[in-house]
């Protein structure tokens, strides 16, 4: 479809092809200081409001501002949007926006053959080319011939557009990301209003900046409209999604919302004891903004204080949380043992990142599973659950809180940096759709015994302020029923087994394992946590090709769903893609006498569905 375009003032017309696409993936990439995260987030918000399904993946360096132009200083933001339901930020991208040579160099490999490259030619000077380790200018040496290159002098066009604003050249150049955004809005036929409004809100206090960014955005859009370079405009129709109100959320936002919602539905005050650490910090940040919910955040001096303040708050009758990532999780180990011994509710969120040690702090990984399930001194069982997508983090946090309260136990929720920073549209639940998770406090002071047990082996909760229920708890082994310190040998065996049984019994209280695809088949691809979207996409593709494949995604890692062993035994082959060296596979082997194949990826970045598909095909071919 070709149309002729006329600008507002009728200055110029050109012929534009209008192409409708089902699916688009764009990667914005530039220097850490180029504002690519903002550009990506704005494109995302607008796209969400247009009604596409979408999935995003921000990917930034661990330096705050790496020296400009360097390869390690490249910051990226990927968005995948579609007119059908999607689960991943996309394997490869259709369009790469490269604000400098380094951004081009780092990202080119993942661009589809024939894909679009939008480059800021102003930045392709000798210095930047050298910093990006280019021998010659790729825009000139024909090395990009298999792509569609759109060379745009973005910086100078922005500066031109802002002439007369009275800003310095340097300040004008700062708006160049909005120029690029405007251009992309034109290319993908999105409205500018959401971003224009956002600019006003965000920079309201600084009218010059509002003006500059507004002008730059409009200039970018007009440029697309007017220049001959662009002859195609793409459109992606709204997806057919369940009706309702939506919102775009990152995993960390959703986790924070889930925590507060759990407090509201439990009728308890909320408390977070935490210490900042990438990529978990945003949860603390989100919660610290929610003071009107009465939610208290305590930024502690370290992770140990983070978890211990939460234990104190829990003892005091709050629904208490602590959030961290791998190294901080390690530091909390001892205190989690205390929480399980005193049997107080507590939710520990581990937003996993690349390890070991400091590792790759800004990159996702799934390598804390062993630590979560098995990494404590003594016999120390703790329920472990994992969220599977950014929006699912809400339900993960909520469910963790439910279990913690009902079973008077610490619960670990595993997410990861990929979920934490990635985003997707979320169909918002109504208040009434969320279950009441309140648990009654002890009620009869005469009969109160701190370590009595109910039918699901949970002990009664009585908190300071309740007259007649005064009692003492602690980390020493305690006597059954009374909770007094006990060194009695048989009591110890009994209590060790009791704690194990209590946690194992949660298997009766969680959903049975479900399967996407046939219940019996050649291959089951088993996943947990953030690999959900990539595995699901791969399985959809395999199924579309007629392969006998199912997806089994495990949300409850300890205890496993009751039927899991049985479910898995119905497949000829089992494949576990994991962002570690095979930790879930190890647990499955130990629990169920199965022998799954591990597909391991430990590269600080998520699987692509393609990688999973290929491995699945390899296995299917051996059958």
């Amino acid at each position: 479809m070709a149309t002729t375009v006329e600008t507002a003032n009728g200055q110029k017309t050109k012929s534009v092809d209008y192409v409708e696409l089902e699916d688009v993936t764009i990667r914005f990439a530039g220097d850490s200081g180029d504002g690519m995260q903002i550009t990506g987030t704005q494109f995302t918000t607008t796209t969400a409001q247009v009604g596409n399904d979408l999935s995003t993946f921000p990917d930034y360096p661990s330096e705050i501002r790496a020296p400009s132009g360097t390869l390690y200083g490249v910051s990226g933001f990927q968005i995948h949007f579609s007119s059908r339901a999607i689960h991943t930020p996309g394997d490869r991208f259709d369009t790469l926006v490269a604000m400098n040579p380094a951004a081009l160099k780092v990202n080119l490999k993942q661009l589809h053959e024939g894909g679009n490259i939008l480059v800021n030619t102003d930045s392709f000077d000798a210095k930047n080319l050298k910093l990006a380790k280019y021998e010659s200018n790729p825009l000139e040496d024909d090395s990009l011939r298999q792509y569609k290159v759109y060379p745009v002098p973005i910086t100078s066009l922005t500066t031109n557009a802002l002439e007369g604003t009275g800003l310095s050249a340097k300040d004008m150049a700062r708006s160049k990301n909005f120029f690029a955004l405007g251009l992309l809005y034109w290319m993908y036929d999105r409205p500018m209003e959401p971003t224009l409004n956002w600019i006003k809100e965000k920079f309201g206090k600084n009218p010059k900046v509002v003006e500059a960014n507004t002008l730059a955005l409009r200039a970018g859009y007009s440029f697309g409209n007017m220049t001959e370079i662009f002859s195609v405009q793409y459109s992606v129709r709204p997806a057919v999604l369940p009706a309702g109100t939506y919102r775009n959320v990152t995993g960390n936002e959703a986790t924070a919302l889930g925590m507060i919602a759990a407090c509201l539905k439990a009728g308890l005050p909320g408390f977070l004891g935490s210490y900042p650490i990438t990529p978990a910090t945003e949860i603390l940040q989100e919660l610290s903004r929610r003071k009107n919910f009465g939610f208290k955040t305590f930024q502690a001096e370290d992770e140990i204080a983070g978890v211990c303040t939460a234990i104190g708050a829990s003892f005091g009758g709050s629904l208490a949380f602590t959030t961290t990532s791998g190294p901080g999780m390690a530091l909390k180990t001892e205190a989690v043992g205390l929480a399980l011994m005193v049997e107080l509710p507590l939710v520990i969120v581990d937003v996993q990142r690349g390890g070991p040690s400091t590792g790759l702090p800004t990159k996702p990984e799934q390598s804390d599973l062993f630590q979560a399930v098995l990494g404590r001194n003594g016999e120390a069982p703790v329920p472990v659950i994992a969220a599977s997508s950014p929006a699912n983090c809400f339900y993960g946090a909520f469910e963790a809180a439910r279990i913690a309260l009902k079973y008077m136990t610490p619960v670990i929720l595993l997410t990861d940096g990929y979920l934490a920073n990635g985003s997707e549209p979320w169909l918002l639940p109504a208040d009434s759709e969320l279950p009441d998770i309140s648990v009654p406090f002890a009620s009869d002071p005469e009969k109160y015994q701190p370590y009595e047990r109910n039918d699901h082996l949970s002990r009664p909760w009585a908190v300071p302020g309740m007259a007649g229920f005064e009692h003492r708890i602690g980390g020493l082994e305690k006597q059954h029923i009374t909770g007094n310190v006990s060194h009695d040998p048989m009591n110890h065996q009994f209590m060790v087994e009791m704690r194990a049984k209590k946690i194992a019994g949660i298997a009766d209280d969680i959903p049975l394992q479900t399967v996407f695809g046939p219940e019996e088949a050649d291959l089951a691809i088993i996943g947990w946590g953030g690999t959900y979207g990539d595995i699901r996409t791969a399985v959809e593709r395999l199924q579309a090709k007629g392969k006998s494949v199912s997806h089994v995604h495990i949300k409850y890692l300890n205890p496993f769903p009751k039927n899991l062993g049985e479910v898995l035994r119905r497949y000829k082959k089992l494949l576990v893609p994991e962002m570690n060296l095979g930790q879930l596979a190890f647990l499955l082997r130990a629990h169920f006498h199965l022998d799954p194949v591990t597909l391991s990826k430990v590269q600080g970045r998520p699987f692509t569905p393609m990688e999973i598909e290929e491995k699945a095909n390899d296995i299917l071919n051996t059958l």
Binding site: C308, G316, D431, I473, G474
Partner: protein, 347 residues
């Protein structure tokens, strides 16, 4: 989320507590003669005097001989893990500001493994009463040196003498911006009880360094200060507004000589020349704190500093109240349907 931190329970008539009401049913398991007994009975006496109800008292401890304290109090109690009592107590008090929170901790628990929580609690000024049982030894683990063990002291892990320079608990508490810093001793139960009452009355973290005799692993460590023969010449009691006089015959005093204290005889100087204790002065507190096991100087016992500063939990409550006023009390709807949302219509 409920506004009430405390679940509502029908309370009995408020009844007058006695020390006995505060004793739990557990056998006290300290060694006969241990200084910890004195602390326990003084707290059991002090609390009824200030008139708090026992359901509103929580006693938190770490690990150590002294940290068994909560088991012996018929109040809410948590015997935590080594060094973390103050972090646990900070969370409890912040979450539940109506409680009276006491912490029982040892010189190892508080100043060694727990040192970080100690200094941060003090600067935050969470309203917690911290009783440090300072026996200058790790007693529960049977006699290793602690951060307050004296230089040269022979213990199981310092057979050739301690080479670490000890902390002066009062000094480090002051350096960490503590608002109430005191010292007392197991052998002076009256002073102990009075100081406990003052701690209770102080808003913010109240810290007391209690010289406590461990009869098994460091017996007699404080003999100089507790022994009838020597104590009057080696201890000076700090009383706000009173001159610093001491000595068996109250014949000695402390005056200021430049930046530091000087011991003078009252035959040469008059009381008017002496330092008048001012527990509101940080500077004086530091100057006095330096007299710590210093030969020729008496050891100050009493309240070094007692000043006001808003507490952590007060400020937090205030921020919350302000937010609620401004944004309205949060609900599930206001939580979720916030920011940029959009509708997908039904088909």
């Amino acid at each position: 989320m409920s506004n009430e931190e405390t679940p509502t329970v029908v309370k009995d008539q408020v009844k007058v507590l006695t020390a006995k009401d505060l004793a739990s049913d557990q056998d006290v398991r300290w060694c006969p003669g241990c200084g910890d007994y004195s602390m326990l009975s003084q707290l059991q006496r002090a609390l009824p005097e200030v008139g708090v109800q026992k359901e509103n008292i929580a006693v938190i401890a770490g690990i150590g001989c002294s940290s068994r304290f909560p088991y012996y109090m018929d109040t809410y109690g948590l015997h935590g893990i080594h060094g973390r009592a103050l972090a646990i107590a900070s969370g409890l008090k912040t979450a539940h500001p109506h409680l009276t929170v006491w912490v029982a901790t040892g010189d190892g628990d508080c100043l060694s493994i727990g040192g970080n929580h100690f200094i941060h609690t003090l600067r935050r000024n969470v309203d917690i009463n911290v009783m440090m049982f300072n026996n200058r030894i790790y007693a529960l683990t049977k006699g290793q040196y602690s951060p307050t063990s004296q230089h040269g002291q022979k213990t199981k892990t310092s057979p050739t003498g301690v080479i670490d320079h000890p902390f002066n608990p009062v000094l480090i508490a002051l350096g960490a911006e503590g608002t109430f810093v005191a010292r007392s001793m197991d052998r002076d139960p009256k002073h102990l009880k009075e100081t406990m009452i003052a701690m209770y009355r102080h808003k913010g973290t109240a810290f007391i360094d209690v010289l406590q005799n461990c009869v098994i692993f460091n017996d007699g460590a404080f003999d100089l200060y507790t022994n009838k023969e020597t104590r009057d010449d080696n201890v000076v009691y700090l009383e706000h507004g009173k001159p610093l006089v001491f000595g068996k015959n109250r014949d000695k005093g402390l005056r200021l000589d430049g930046f530091r204290t000087q011991v003078v005889s009252l035959s040469e100087y008059s009381e008017n020349d002496l330092i008048i204790h001012d527990s509101k002065s940080k500077e004086l507190a530091f100057i006095l704190a330096h007299m710590n096991d210093q030969p020729g100087y008496p050891l100050p016992i009493g309240i070094f500093l007692d000043i006001e500063r808003t507490t952590y939990e007060e400020e937090l409550e205030e921020h919350i109240a302000r937010a609620k006023e401004k944004e309205g009390e949060g609900t599930v709807e206001s939580l979720l349907f916030d920011g940029q949302t959009w509708e997908i219509p039904g088909t």
